[in-house]
């Protein structure tokens, strides 16, 4: 597997596409700013959202128990999954026990995290993703590159080529209207035939035992309303205590995600319709472990709006696939080391710690501070290269000894002047696209002794 830096370097090779990716996401960030600045109470809403989540996480077992009780009373079956494997097995069993053949799935980052599609495919079961972006990447056999805009790394031409190959649309026809219509017809066939519909969950309400699914395409509703079985999958952090708290989150979610005042469809599910089965799978998959890490607990407040992706100057220029995980971007970089520290040790370093992510986060997660803290943990656990460790130890020693520091500085500048090729070469990554600073004859320390200490 390539590291973030290696994969990012490959993405950037196509400069035009990188610029387009950056500008498109910056456009979304600008829309978010407009929507946020339109509400004088914006910062108050963020405080409330953060505090509600904080309270819920502090009393999570109580709220989960209440949710299960109320959901059961509504006729919903609640399943508990300790990890991704168990989540997948539960769904597989529901499919087998009910003799299901046609499955549609609306957008759910949890099922991506659990690799449900691959698991079911492995058992000979096909699922059709019904979110347009998700369907496009599914046809291409790629993972989503963004949690809200899964195909944002693709241009119209790419979509046209994909649809031509799989849906037999006219070759070279890039008209978005035409392509969307083709997808609509294609997906309609699957909706009508579907027997089981899988959806995600945006908010689960302990008080009512119901849950809310937000989509802009209405595809979750189409699936859930036609199939005889509706399976909703959620990480346990999706819980909120009361229905009255929904208003805070629904106002924040799409303004942060896309700059829209409200999601097009916020569908409230409380009980199965007569003759239908409704199931909820509540997943841990490392969340309890993260809850137990005081420095990273706040990451469980995330409502998956992706505002941190859109504002992140690194994400915009490296693309989602460079993060090699289901949830990319700044939030993914603090969630994924919890799932597998070794495999994701590079992610907390894929940031300049500029802090913009923390500022746009609607639930006020201290994202950039957690990135800094993960770096400390990853180094302490020994997941950095020996070369880096050695150079850092050398630096620490040099900077602890002022005489040595002054001597090394003087020598360094001297050699940079008389033998610039010693630093201006291929071994110096700085020099690849940047000139080195011009070394002055005198450091400030040397100047000071001459001019102020007479």
């Amino acid at each position: 597997m390539k590291s973030h830096a290696e994969a990012a370097a490959e993405f950037i090779k196509d400069g035009e596409r990188t610029d387009w990716h950056d500008e498109t996401l910056w456009f979304v960030r600008a829309k978010r700013d407009l929507a946020a600045h339109g509400l004088p109470e914006w910062e108050q809403l963020r405080d409330w959202a953060s505090e509600i989540k904080n309270h819920t996480l502090s009393n999570i077992s109580q709220y989960l128990t209440a949710f299960e009780k109320n959901a059961n009373a509504n006729g919903i079956t609640v399943h508990w999954a300790a990890d991704a494997e168990e989540h997948n097995r539960i769904i597989h069993k529901l499919i087998k026990d009910n003799g299901i053949e046609k499955i549609v799935k609306s957008k759910s980052m949890l099922t991506e995290e659990c690799h449900l599609n691959e698991y079911l495919n492995h058992h000979g079961i096909a699922t059709i993703d019904t979110d347009l972006g998700e369907r496009i990447v599914q046809l291409r056999q790629e993972p989503p590159s963004h949690i809200v805009l899964p195909a944002i790394h693709l241009k119209k031409q790419d979509v046209s080529d994909t649809f031509h190959e799989f849906l037999h649309t006219e070759k070279g026809n890039n008209d978005p209207q035409y392509l969307t219509e083709a997808a609509r017809i294609h997906l309609r066939d699957h909706f009508v035939a579907s027997e089981l519909a899988i959806t995600g969950v945006n908010f689960a309400i302990a008080e009512t035992g119901g849950f809310v699914v937000c989509t802009n395409e209405g595809n979750a509703d189409m699936g859930a309303h036609t199939a005889k079985i509706h399976v909703a999958c959620m990480g346990f952090e999706k819980l909120i205590p009361k229905a009255e708290h929904l208003g805070v989150f629904l106002r924040l979610l799409t303004r942060s995600a896309t700059g829209q005042p409200i999601t097009t469809y916020s569908s409230h599910f409380h009980r199965p319709r007569p003759g239908q089965q409704m199931h909820i799978v509540i997943v841990d998959n490392g969340r309890t472990r993260q809850l137990g890490r005081p420095d990273f607990r706040n990451s469980l407040k995330c409502i998956r709006c992706a505002a941190c992706f859109n504002t992140c100057p690194v994400y915009r220029r490296s693309g989602g696939h460079s993060y090699h995980t289901a949830v990319a971007g700044p939030i993914g970089s603090i969630l994924n080391p919890n799932l597998d520290m070794k495999a994701n040790a590079d992610l907390p370093f894929a940031s300049t710690l500029c802090g913009s992510c923390s500022n746009v986060c609607p639930v006020k997660i201290d994202i950039h501070e957690q990135l800094w803290k993960w770096r400390q943990v990853i180094v302490a656990e020994g997941y950095v290269g020996a070369g880096k460790k050695l150079s850092m130890q050398g630096m620490g020693f040099l900077f602890s000894h002022p005489n040595l520091y002054r001597f090394a500085g003087k020598m360094g500048r001297f050699f940079m002047r008389i033998a610039p090729f010693m630093v201006n070469n291929r071994l110096n990554p700085w020099y690849k696209q940047r000139e080195m600073p011009a070394p002055p004859k005198e450091s400030f320390g040397e100047w000071y002794i001459k001019n102020r200490k007479k």
């Binding site: 973030h4 830096a5 990012a8 370097a9 950037i12 950056d22 700013d33 946020a36 600045h37 509400l39 004088p40 914006w42 910062e43 504002t311 100057p313 690194v314 220029r317 490296s318 370093f349 894929a350 300049t352 710690l353 500029c354 802090g355 913009s356 500022n359 800094w372 770096r375 400390q376 990853i378 180094v379 302490a380 850092m392 130890q393 630096m395 620490g396 900077f399 602890s400 000894h401 002022p402 500085g409 360094g412 990554p429 700085w430 690849k432 696209q433 940047r434 000139e435 600073p437 011009a438 070394p439 002055p440 005198e442 450091s443 400030f444 320390g445 100047w447 000071y448 002794i449 102020r452």
Partner: protein, 243 residues
């Protein structure tokens, strides 16, 4: 008022002119400035790379050099932020006391000295690069993400300089991509970010790019020079001290 001047390693070695301008500016404003000779680095390169366990030597030197001063002033927001957040000592109370006395130059001028006028002139078109650590970390200016009234300590000071013509950027507070060791560990992204940042300034007609943080400027200067651009970088102290 006794002020200790902290000149971080890379400023000391590569940008003495910015350090001299900082010293002269403070002296002009009637401040008694001392420069302890045993200073090196704030420790940020190690800490931001995950090696905060290796900053003990830097911390001890810093405490030894600066504990006797009323204030510590430094022309680099990034280093100041690191010290404010992560300076430790054997006597932790001493470190905590010192943390609250450390100021980035522009915030020291506006908040402590409460400077309202400067004798300075710089008749050029200037783009201000807001360094992330100064802006978002130290809050020396408002951030575009937050819904709150705007302010900018660097702009407030630049407004006192005769003839300066500030350019409007398309992206007011986008990161330049330097990021300490990020600039080499993620060379491709870092360089691309720097190129994009420079392009915004150039497109909007800047002759100079200034900042309260030289580390960003070192990165942008490296890119400008590689491009053969005539646009120059100057630390804000050099503009505020220019006559």
């Amino acid at each position: 008022m006794k002020v200790g001047l902290f000149i971080p390693c890379y400023v000391d070695q590569f940008y003495p002119k910015a350090a001299i301008a900082t010293l002269e500016l403070l002296e002009k404003l009637g401040v008694e400035v001392g420069y302890p000779s045993g200073q090196t680095c704030c420790g940020q390169p190690m800490a931001n790379s995950g090696f905060s366990g290796l900053t003990g030597g830097c911390d001890a030197l810093f405490v030894k050099n600066f504990s006797s001063y009323d204030y510590v002033v430094c022309p680099s927001g990034s280093c100041v932020l690191h010290l404010k957040e992560h300076l430790h000592a054997e006597d932790e109370a001493q470190a905590v006391a010192l943390r609250s006395k450390i100021y980035e130059l522009t915030e020291f001028l506006t908040d402590v000295l409460k400077v309202e006028q400067l004798k300075a002139s710089f008749p050029h078109r200037v783009g201000l690069h807001q360094s992330c650590h100064g802006q978002r970390g130290l809050k020396i200016s408002q951030m575009t993400e937050l819904v709150a009234p705007g302010f900018s300590k660097p702009l407030q000071l630049l407004g006192m300089v005769d003839g300066v013509n500030m350019v409007q950027l398309d992206r007011m507070d986008e990161c330049c991509g330097f990021g300490g060791t990020f600039c080499v560990a993620e060379e491709a992204v870092s360089a691309k970010m720097g190129q994009d940042r420079v392009a915004d300034h150039v497109k909007n007609g800047a002759e100079y790019i200034t900042s309260a943080d030289l580390s960003c400027l070192m990165h942008l200067e490296g890119i400008l020079k590689r491009q053969g651009s005539a646009v120059k970088v100057l630390h804000i102290a050099e503009i505020l001290n220019h006559q």
